[in-house]
């Protein structure tokens, strides 16, 4: 497939690159831009390891066509620490032992980021729904839910 010029905003920076628009967004991120924080697990949208935030919403980047990045505003795990919500989330994941092998972590963080972006003080049930498309085979989920809940409380304490 021939290349096209794709322009988008990624982690707060403007990009204009030549790329195959029919590849998957996750492949463009990992192979073309070498942003390998976004993981590929199942490749069919079931595990959530490839979750990124596209125009403010969590999506599985294995099921988004690179061509659909045209004009979009994208956040991946690499840009997370530059945001207030992301930075708090990362610290809460570390403090709460919400990471074991780490493969699912970028996806969980991005799903949690999208949740807190729209709903800074979610209930436990809202947190569970927000990460229902992310699979973790290590932690048993409880530390992850706790970490996201703690991030919500810290955001509240910081007046967000």
């Amino acid at each position: 497939m021939s290349q096209v010029q794709l322009q988008f905003r990624l982690n707060g920076k403007d990009y204009s690159i030549q790329a195959d628009p029919t590849q998957r967004m996750v492949d463009l991120l990992r192979e073309n831009l070498h942003l390998t924080g976004t993981k590929v697990g199942c490749g069919v949208g079931e595990c959530g390891a490839c979750t990124v935030v596209l125009n403010g919403e969590a999506v599985t980047s294995c099921l988004v066509l690179a061509g659909q990045m045209q004009g979009a505003d994208i956040l991946t795990v690499e840009g997370l620490s530059e945001t207030q919500i992301g930075s708090i989330l990362q610290q809460c994941f570390v403090d709460g032992d919400a990471v074991q092998c780490g493969f699912c972590t970028p996806g969980f963080l991005m799903s949690a980021y999208a949740l807190l972006l729209h709903n800074p003080h979610p209930t436990r049930e809202e947190i569970k729904v927000a990460v229902s498309g992310n699979l973790c085979r290590c932690t048993g989920y409880v530390p992850i839910l706790n970490a996201i809940e703690a991030a919500g409380l810290r955001l509240a304490a910081e007046g967000k």
Binding site: R24, V44, V59, V64, Q70, S132
Partner: protein, 289 residues
Amino acid sequence: MQVRTYIRPASLADALHTLATVEEPIAIIAGGTDVLVYAREDDRYANSALIDIYGLAGELGQIREERDDLIIGALATHAAIAKSPLVLRYAPILADACRSIAAPQVRNHATIAGNIANASPAADSLGALAVLRAKVGVQSPEGQRELAMDQIIARPYRNNLGPRDLITYIRIPKLEGYQHMFYKLGRRRAQSISRMTLAALLKRDSQGVVEDFRITVGATFPRPMVFPDVDAMLIGIRPAQADLEAVAKALSNKIPEIAGIRASTAYKQPVCEKLCLRILNNLLGGDQQ
């Protein structure tokens, strides 16, 4: 994915022009949450022109009212439908169905028209759309037409659309004063492919007499079904328990009648009967709203 050409129309008019003129076999992609899964399995799109309409969400993604109808743009995502104030007011059963699809990441990107066009027998939106008597607006170089839910899908994974047809909207008659219930039976709440869905709408007058009743079963038949004969069993009466049991029996009897006796029938038929009875009891035991 492997394709012959990739075309990203700038407007609906541009998309219709492309559909009318392109020479290769046509594959239309919206959210792509099914197409990108199929593209992993084989090279079925290798000779196709891939027409990416996702960028047309401004024109084709709106949810609005048009007199007595709700018009849902083809590119409205499941997430947008699930939280739309108009859908929650006039067709809340569709919001419930869309909320039960996959997980947030897919609901944020997958579209209602894609769910219809993909024609999976287990698609969660289809049962709700069937009881809502939704019509699907289709545009092609020859003109515009509307198809009912049981007309647009031929059989599992085959719709009745031509290659140059484009779904542009879903028309749903507004409902008020109805109770509704959408039930999804799956192995877990998120991500599961439905084993069965039930969708029911009920309207009663102040005396408890049923003015309207519609029920269907999804993930069970080759295409979305409506059952006017079953619906009629409750209309005009104040249902007693025996009436509800008769409806549950009649509805579950449709499974061997239409789908034939299959390996799953021994499971699905009694489960359908139980679920139907439970839903009817919930609806009739609850408040009218």
